[in-house]
Symmetry: C2
Subunit: 210 residues, 2 copies
């Protein structure tokens, strides 16, 4: 069997995923998440309900699915290990946000606009908000992994978990504010402000921004 699967199949698969997710986010935004059935999404995307479930395990994943998982953890590993934990995590979060929130605010097809629409859905819909916070919990574990490496010391892991969870919660506050402002405020700035509010104004090093 070919371990490197064909590019054509993979591209088609990614294509349908993007199409289905785009139609889903559009319909959810227009009519509301609960008022839109999976069958509606399937019809709009021109596929069968079965195909939707093949690509997205649950209806909620139509909004939550994100290809950019792991970006933060990679950024963690690139920070100097001698800094305090909250320093390292905070800088990585700010940098990742700078990468993800790039793009034009007014371009409706931009990645930034799509991210914003998904985020607004996640905040407004209870079921999505809950799942979104649980994703943060998973992200926290990957950050802890990047911070502690193979260290089996329970106390080290515990401290890293507490720091990572606190940083992510502060970032979440910034994300909510960003969504409420409809993306008009600079997201990395908001995250830095939230981190400063939680950990003190001097707790965050100078992020890599001009």
């Amino acid at each position: 069997m070919p371990d490197q699967h064909s590019t054509l199949r993979a591209r088609r698969r990614a294509e349908t995923q993007r199409t289905v997710q785009a139609h889903a986010v559009r319909l959810f935004t227009e009519r509301g998440f609960d008022a839109t059935t999976v069958a509606d999404v399937a019809d709009a995307a021109g596929v069968s309900p079965m195909t939707v479930y093949r690509h997205f395990p649950t209806k909620e994943d139509l909004v939550l699915a994100d290809a950019n998982v792991g970006l933060v953890a990679d950024g963690i590993a690139a920070t100097p290990a001698n800094l305090p934990l909250t320093h390292r995590i905070g800088s990585a979060l700010v940098d990742s946000a700078a990468q993800l929130s790039s793009g034009d605010v007014h371009d409706p097809g931009s990645n930034r606009r799509f991210l914003l629409a998904r985020l607004q859905l996640m905040i407004a819909t209870p079921a999505l908000r809950a799942r979104h916070l649980d994703n943060h919990y998973a992200l926290q574990q990957s950050i802890v992994g990047a911070l502690t490496g193979e260290s089996p010391d329970p106390d080290t892991v515990f401290r890293a978990q507490a720091a990572a969870g606190a940083c992510l919660a502060a970032m979440h506050t910034a994300l909510v504010r960003w969504a409420e402002d409809d993306g008009r405020t600079d997201l990395p700035d908001l995250i830095a402000q939230a981190l400063a509010a939680a950990f003190g104004d001097d707790a965050i090093g100078s992020p890599t921004r001009g």
Copy 2:
């Protein structure tokens, strides 16, 4: 209409709620949350499935429902307003945990044991974990309300939200550790340690413990 409803009706209602929830947590722990249907819970509790839904809006609420909401917010208001935000929130969290986690570890009918069983379910089951984190989000809002009062200044609210979210995330790390240790460690101590790991060892004032 009588605004103060009869004590007999209220007591019976609370009684059935306790019974149903106790059977639910027991069955969920024995067989797993997903493998147990609401009908199973209703049968075990000796009521109809309809009655279960009258008392608990969703299956998840059978585990999540907690009468002790508002305890933290009350504790916040009792803290001196001149302390840093994370100080005030942290002390209130430690104090609330001391009240809630009291009771014997070995007494299977104790409130502490029941709280522990529910917490272990919330951590092990993805759907419950997500809802639990969303409850923390609601708790965060109530803390912010207790902190800021009627202040309409957006920046004040933003800073309070960031601080409250960060403190709650640190507490959650402590809760997970407590559940993993099956309640053997002192919960207020764990929370204080988590807060110290996130905000620095000197960030938490002396909690009201001997």
